[in-house]
Amino acid sequence: MLPHRADETGNSASIRLIEVKAYACRREHTARMASAPNSFNANFDSDLIARYDVSGPRYTSYPAAPQFHEHFGAAEFAAAAHASNDDPIPRGLSLYVHVPFCLSPCFYCGCTRIITRDRGKADSYLARLYREIELTASLFDRDRKTSQLHFGGGTPNFLTAWQMSELIESLATNFGVSNAASTEIGIEVDPRSADADYVRGLASVGFNRLSIGVQDFDPEVQLAINRVQSIEETRAVIEAARESGFRSISVDLIYGLPKQHPSSFSRTLDAIIALAPDRVAVYGYAHLPQRFRAQRQIRAEDMPDAKTRLALIGLAVSKLTVAGYRYIGMDHFARMDDELARAQDNGTLQRNFQGYSTHAACDLIGLGMSAISHVGATFSQNARDLSGYYAALDAGNLPIVRGIQLTVDDVIRADLIQQLMCHGRVDIHAFAARHRLDFPVYFAVSLARLRRLAADDLVELSEHHIQVTARGHFLLRNIAMCFDAYLNPANHVPAVLAAESSAILPRYSRTL
């Protein structure tokens, strides 16, 4: 559904609602990003832009998906699942279900998706999905409750209301969905193929969170991306969701799309603010036409340059903050009273495949074609094509094709990157104590790199903390990249960050 997810996984199918697990983001007295910007001060000169507009991971996971390998498969996943049952208090579960089908192709999309108008395809997909649910659920002890359930795509509302209802029932039966009031059941909805009745149907089977793709309301942009969607259809879905009791409504926008200009994007932002969603995500478009066939439909001359992209996100920040939203970090905004903002205040915010989350650490189980799981200190991903996904399940096997077992170093760096992404701050002493390390020695190479960013006023660096500055909030990825051991061979401190990064990172999107 969203292009931004494509860069790490090769498909956005991997997104899940989820939180990144126990090792990350423990409670600390981190207040919210201390100097979170109220207005976007676009004092980025062109030299700075040139230096920081590089390719890099989005850190929805660390290590990022290109590090996954095929030596990690179903057996390793099963072993991780068994080990996760062994904790004194095993973590709760969070489920992501991927529905890969779409009725028409949005040109910006980098997801692994299947364009079809044949609704019958859903039945053969569901038959395999049910098998996967049974196989997977049997690996996890029954007293581990599911506190989050999320449907993404593709287009989840490709499924009919009754198909959705049966699916929820199967998940509840097999995984034991917690009936606590805090249980989140969320779905991404395309308003072009969902009406008010459908949304009410979702509410009646238990959905309580809705995320709606908008991208941009400007007609010219909509034509250029092959996604024509009126404000009226969008409003109808939002109103139906409110009336039927959805607890949270979120809207996704994209900046950096073809034909996008600050003046028209400003009108889109006004329209969104009028719709008053609880959360707004403003993702940067990742233009990688050599990797994503659909993106070849987009004309290069229609693409905004880096300076315009900065102006677009700057506009979003200033308009949304004036309208009462807080910039949480990395593309995400939430109303001041939203639990995401509260979680940032009390230090429980988590970064995950879907963006940010408030739930305590869970093991994440991705179900469906191309879905990613995060169980214990492992990541794993399902087959990214229907035939591979079907073949594995028809043979009675889990469809996992690649993954990674995190090393101790991975776990440490994942925690640090999580702190930066969620709180814009790292308390060096607390971090060093938690991981039993001598911070300046352990991170000598990373800190050397970070000092260059400090010189550009993106971070403040003292012996007690790393603090992201107001300006640095828009370059969180660049800051996190300093700590990425896979980008920074430890024995090699390259002279030019940008040059090195773009040279070795053809798989990642630009950071600006």
């Binding site: 126990a22 090792y23 423990r26 049952n85 062994d86 904790d87 004194p88 208090i89 095993p90 002890d141 007293d143 090393t407 101790v408 170093d409 991975d410 991981h435 039993r436 390390l437 001598d438 911070f439 300046p440 020695v441 352990y442 991170f443 000598a444 190479v445 051991a485 061979p489 430890a490 024995n491």
Partner: protein
């Protein structure tokens, strides 16, 4: 990851004894106490040291010995945690105990001359192996060693039956945590932070509870602020309150 990432890392605080040398035992060794230089002449000490082999490291799941193996040595844990268990007639596993650095395993094998149980490493572990026939001979000459052996024997029996009574799940778990905490602190390690290398299934088996009950009770202890659980690490925030719950078991 390349070696440099290990630079600046402190060694894990997993419970471990420091190394002894020819005239000193590892700081946690049960024989350390009886072998103070004033009590034992140096030649005897060297002799005792000759009986000791350092064995390991074992990885989680490795056997130190198996039920039915011929008994010829007792072992002292130097590092890590060891589980002992046996299988009853119907093949069901029964966990006998968890053994920390400085504690002995294999004592219950003295009588039948075969190990009656398996000893399995729960995390990376090292042990000292004492040849038993030689130790027995030495004990005849060194009353201190003999006394310590008898002490260990009676303690070992006490461990095995501690949870046999009719106790509630809360009492069992509280006593389990207090017991572990005491044993850690006796060995000079922090009493308020415990690393539980064993699975919840092992804890449940040892305490004769369902695995779900173990988690439910621990969660309740946590909700009441008695403990904080983070993965396999448990910190005891209110030892006095926990002790009050554990009292019926500990008073035995």
């Amino acid at each position: 990851m390349t070696g440099i990432h290990q630079l600046g890392r402190f060694s894990a605080h997993r419970v471990a004894a420091d190394d002894g040398d020819e005239l000193r035992f590892c700081s946690t060794c049960v024989f350390g106490r009886v072998c103070l230089p004033k009590e034992v002449d140096k030649s005897a000490l060297v002799e005792l040291h000759c009986l000791v082999d350092h064995v390991g490291p074992f990885q989680a799941g490795d056997h130190i010995f198996r039920a039915g193996d011929r008994f010829n040595s007792i072992y002292a844990v130097r590092r890590g945690m060891i589980k002992t268990r046996l299988h009853d007639e119907s093949g069901r596993e029964q966990v006998l105990g968890f053994h920390l650095a400085g504690e002995m395993i294999g004592l219950n094998a003295i009588h039948p001359a075969k190990y009656p149980c398996d000893a399995i490493a729960l995390d990376e572990a090292e042990v000292c192996r004492f040849s038993f026939p030689a130790l027995a001979t030495l004990a005849l000459r060194m009353p201190g060693v003999q006394r310590e052996l008898f002490n260990l024997l009676s303690k070992d029996i006490g461990n095995a039956i501690a949870f046999a009574g009719d106790y509630s799940a809360d009492e069992r778990l509280a006593a389990f945590l207090i017991g572990l905490s005491r044993r850690f602190s006796e060995r000079g390690f922090p009493a308020d932070t415990l690393h539980l290398a064993m699975s919840r299934g092992d804890i449940a088996n040892y305490l004769r509870l369902a695995a779900e009950t173990v988690s439910r009770v621990l969660r309740r202890f946590q909700d009441h602020g008695l403990i904080a659980v983070d993965g396999r690490d448990v910190s005891i925030s209110k030892p006095a309150d926990l002790f009050a719950i554990a009292k019926p078991v500990l008073q035995r």
